[in-house]
């Protein structure tokens, strides 16, 4: 068969169109569940990303575990209560629990601490049922039902800071955390972590 120019041109057009349709079908751009991966996680410049909190929590917990003062606490496990954290950030959707929970999980797993989930936080307990039963048991055994037996408290503050130089934007989040011995009121561990993000726009990967 001898191909003439018009037939070759039509054939090429059909091939090209088929290729475009095939690529379009394969690259649907649909949503997919992804694991935390530094190559594909989105880095935003206008708010705290979940990975910022996870990274900060990991570093703070690591610092606390490594602290000689925390390691030398005689009572194991010590009872830990959580103070409300101060979130001085622009991000109104930010929940300090996303930062605090991993830290507490690490402390519990280290066998050095047990969190008292019945302690009151803004007059609300994490576990109200457990608090009711605990108070009832203490009352029935002749103890003061409102007596708090915590040994240490965890408190902290999150601060944000925004800077700009031309098209380049920079946002910094400073995570401060303190562990206080309740009986003395003295801090036995204190540290802070800064997460800084910089760029002209949000991007994938960090």
């Amino acid at each position: 068969m001898i191909f003439t120019k018009p037939i070759v041109g039509s054939f090429a057009a059909v091939l090209f169109s088929s290729a475009v349709l095939g690529v379009g079908a394969g690259c649907g751009g649909g949503g997919a569940q992804v694991n935390t991966d530094p190559k594909i996680d989105i880095t935003s410049l206008t708010g705290i990303d979940p990975k910022d909190l996870e990274s900060a929590a990991s570093q703070l917990a690591d610092s606390m575990l490594r602290s000689p003062e925390v390691a030398s606490i005689q009572k194991k496990p010590a009872i830990l209560v959580i103070n409300p954290f101060i979130a001085d950030v622009d991000d109104s959707d930010f929940d300090t629990g996303v930062l605090i929970k991993p830290v507490v999980q690490v402390l519990m797993k280290s066998q050095r601490f047990r969190e008292d989930t019945t302690s009151l936080w803004n007059d609300v307990s994490q576990d109200r049922r457990a608090l009711e039963l605990k108070r009832k048991k203490r009352y029935l055994s002749g103890q003061d039902p409102t007596d708090d037996t915590a040994d240490y408290s965890l408190s902290g503050k999150i601060i944000d800071s925004y800077q700009r130089a031309g098209n380049v934007r920079q946002v910094s989040y400073i995570f401060q955390m303190t562990l206080t011995e309740i009986s003395s009121g003295l801090a036995i561990w204190d540290d802070q972590v800064r997460i800084t993000k910089q760029g002209t726009k949000a991007s994938v990967g960090f």
Binding site: D37, V106, S110, F206
Partner: protein, 139 residues
């Protein structure tokens, strides 16, 4: 004329290299006082560029007073320019089983030109006896 052009290009390249790259000078004790406990390591390097940015210099271990394993990995940036990478420590118990912990999270790290830095991690509990350090180039 041609040699002058080449000379000009070389000069411009050197000037650019000088402006864009600032490496680090360091001073430390000639005979360090600390007595390190080195760890023999096995390395699997699939990214040659990353190997230049974060070349593992040494791996050391210690323990906290109550028995948690501490690992310190010193890495060096062999380039003259500041670079970024991400790293994560994973932990394993004495049976080689992974220990799940929030401590195993990716952390971003910046390293200066020709700088040596220490990546330090604490084991999550006393059952964690082994570790794996993962390094990945930043975007």
């Amino acid at each position: 004329m041609r040699s002058a052009s080449i000379g000009l290009l070389v000069t411009m390249w050197m000037a650019g290299a000088g402006i864009g790259c600032r490496s680090m000078n360091t001073v430390e004790r000639e005979n360090p006082i600390g007595v390190p406990d080195p760890v023999a390591d096995k390395r699997i390097e699939t990214d040659s560029g990353l190997r230049d940015i974060a070349r593992v210099v040494s791996v050391r271990q210690a323990t906290t007073p109550d028995g948690l394993l501490l690992i310190q990995v010193q890495v060096m940036n062999k380039r003259f320019s500041a670079e970024r990478f991400n790293y994560m420590f994973e932990w394993f118990d004495q049976n080689g089983m992974a220990v799940r912990t929030p401590l195993s999270e990716w952390r971003a790290q910046q390293i200066g030109g020709k700088e040596v830095i220490a990546l330090i991690a604490t084991a999550p509990d006393a059952t964690a006896k082994d570790f794996r350090l993962k390094l990945i180039d930043a975007k």
